[in-house]
């Protein structure tokens, strides 16, 4: 397995709308890949195709060596996925949610207790075991979602905007966990709006209107474009694509696409 993820010309169309347009991507194992792009640019669609829960209109791809079209169930055994919208059971407690996913992933009972302790510690969930997931605040919900995505020791972790609308403490925990992951040669694919987060990734990819505009080491991308930081680079790409020049602060454009 040369790459944890390898996408070849992957395309997803919804009627006339092309959500993901002929996307190629190669992510080596053990790296943190920052997936950048405004809302509706195709990040979530791409991540879902990599997870094997969405069938591409055309193109092919391999995740952890398994074909995303032919072997999605093998992929599912080895990945952790945290969706953008909270998708755990709000009427179950923190512990019940973790127990449920632990059993779904068939973690051996002996190992499971240990895993749970690690996850509680990593996600900073200790003390909230008996709280209903629905009663947790935004940041805590995200941490629980992270915990559930990690419970079965995945080889590849997908985090879809894990830090959107999350308090600074939770944000820090997230990035600490992400870096710890890569120490164990776990690949992390994380989509984000925050350029300061992206700057610390091993690799970043800019996606806009379904097209991958650039891909590579974030520092090299900045250097190549003679820019100050990733944010400037991103604005530049968006302007090139739309043919517009906004005389406004870069962040506004970023968020309004």
């Amino acid at each position: 397995m040369d790459y944890a993820v390898e996408l070849n010309g992957i395309t997803k169309k919804y009627g006339n709308l092309t959500a993901v347009d002929n996307l190629n991507l190669k992510i080596p194992p053990g790296s943190i890949f920052g997936f950048l792009g405004p809302n509706g640019s195709g990040k979530t669609t791409t991540i879902r195709m990599m997870c094997g829960v969405l069938t591409p209109t055309s193109g092919s791809g391999k995740v952890l060596g398994y074909d995303i079209l032919k072997n999605p169930e093998e992929i599912k055994k080895k990945i952790g996925y945290m969706s953008q919208k909270f998708s755990l059971y709000e009427d179950l407690t923190v512990e019940e949610n973790l127990d449920f996913y632990g059993e779904i992933y068939s973690i051996p009972p002996k190992e499971f207790k240990e895993r749970k302790d690690i996850v509680y510690r990593m996600a900073g969930l200790s003390g909230r075991e008996k709280t209903l997931a629905g009663n947790l605040s935004g940041g805590w919900k995200q941490r629980l979602a992270l915990g559930c995505a990690l419970i079965h020791k995945p080889s590849l972790l997908f985090l879809d905007e894990p830090t959107a609308g999350v308090d600074p403490v939770s944000r820090r925990i997230f990035w600490k966990v992400i870096r710890e992951m890569t120490k164990n040669n776990i690949t992390v694919i994380v989509s984000t709006h925050y350029m300061d987060e992206a700057q610390t990734c091993d690799l970043v990819g800019f996606i806009f209107k379904g097209k991958l505009l650039d891909f590579g080491d974030p520092n090299e991308i900045v250097k190549k474009n003679n820019a100050q930081n990733l944010e400037d680079v991103f604005i530049k790409y968006v302007e090139e694509m739309t043919g517009e020049h906004h005389g406004v602060r870069p962040l506004d454009i970023f968020f309004n696409g």
Partner: protein, 376 residues
């Protein structure tokens, strides 16, 4: 297929059911409510028909004739009128459903030994009522005439008469013609179907609406594991519902179970699994809870009419009867009526049971095949 995964789904569903008190309440209260409400409403017995009498004869004989109507329990003489107009008016407003007219020469003719003409008006808007009124009216009059003939013959000294042909009816299973005996077992079947289909119809749709399905389908869980895990908790609830409905039938409406309860419960379980599978299948097709509700209705409404719950299958045209045989409830009604009313055993009911089991297998497999671990 891993048992542990199925168990984890079962456990999760039970916790969710336990915490969702209103839904659990509805699941338990609904059969009680439906049984009580429909148990009284579904009555096809026609008796105590409000009747007007226009007695122009006003004699001993005419009063005796009226009394024989009253005594039959089929007719309730609610009012006496004195002309045809009044009789018609009462019929128009629906105050009476039948009217008896005895002409002035009634007694005279009887005493002379000549035929006395009487007249009965029947409201035919509801054919069931009309038919009963009509036939019981004729019977009462015949009986009355026979008694008169007998008396005259005795008086003349010709001894008793023997009728050339006599039919001695012997009614099996429900000799007293109690409608409850027929309707209550059917009602139990209908109530069970309505509740169980709804129980599972929402189960997967709810996960889809709340977004929890997204996390579930990125796991290695197999559709069959998920479906079985979702089905089992509701089997328990449905069995509670069945026990409740049956108890109401037995102890409140006094419909005894003639056959074996030990046979009824396993066969009810088969039907429950079929109904739950229908619900799960709906759940895999519907996108929203509203859609699931509409589909459930679309399925439930025809089954009320076509299953033989009210109208006998034999009376249906061939093509409609074919549809009836596509409805699982049709078979279960035969099973529950067979056991409760007739007290028959599995040797009689095995073909209906096989049909149900076949439905269950097909529907459940269809649900598993239909469920995709994919988003759109």
């Amino acid at each position: 297929m891993r048992i542990r995964r199925i168990l984890s789904i079962i456990k999760k569903e039970f916790i969710q059911i336990k915490r969702d008190k209103p839904s659990l309440g509805i699941a338990i209260m609904m059969p009680l409510m439906m049984m009580f409400l429909f148990g009284y409403a579904v009555k096809v017995e026609v008796d105590h028909v409000p009747t007007a009498v226009w007695d122009e004869s006003q004699t001993l004989q005419s009063r005796e004739f009226i009394r024989s109507f009253q005594n039959s329990n089929y007719f309730d003489v609610v009012t006496y009128v004195s002309n045809r107009g009044e009789m018609q008016a009462l019929m128009d407003t629906g105050e009476v459903k039948a009217a008896l007219h005895i002409p002035p020469d009634f007694s005279r003719n009887i005493l002379k030994g000549e035929p006395a003409q009487t007249e009965m008006l029947v409201d035919g808007s509801d054919p069931t009522v009309a038919r009963t009124v009509f036939s019981s009216g004729v019977l009462i009059a015949e009986h009355f005439s026979r008694n008169i003939s007998l008396k005259t013959m005795l008086k003349r000294g010709s001894g008793t008469i023997t009728l050339p042909v006599e039919l001695k009816p012997r009614v099996e299973y429900n000799p007293s013609f109690k409608t409850e005996i027929f309707t209550i077992p059917g009602l139990i079947g209908l109530v069970m179907q309505n509740i169980t289909v709804m129980l599972t119809a929402f189960s997967l749709v709810r996960e889809r609406e709340r977004g929890t399905i997204e996390q579930l389908i990125v796991t290695p869980i197999k559709p069959a594991e998920l479906m079985i895990g979702k089905l089992i908790p509701y089997i328990f609830i449905a069995l509670i519902d069945f026990t409740l409905s049956l108890s109401i039938g037995m102890f409140w409406f006094h419909v005894p179970v003639k056959g074996s309860l030990a046979l009824l419960f396993p066969l009810a379980l088969v039907f429950i699994i079929v109904a739950l599978s229908i619900g799960i299948l709906i759940s895999t097709v519907a996108r929203t809870q509203l859609q699931a509700m509409q589909m459930t209705m679309l399925f439930l409404l025809p089954s009320i009419i076509l299953s033989g719950f009210i109208f006998p299958l034999d009376a249906m045209p061939e093509i409609v009867r074919l549809i009836s045989y596509m409805i699982p409830l049709t078979y279960f009604l035969r099973i529950i009526r067979g056991i409760v009313v007739k007290g028959v055993g599995f040797d009689i009911l095995y073909s209906d049971t096989l049909a149900l089991a076949f439905f269950g297998l097909v529907l459940f497999t269809l649900a598993i095949v239909r469920f995709r671990k994919k988003l759109e």
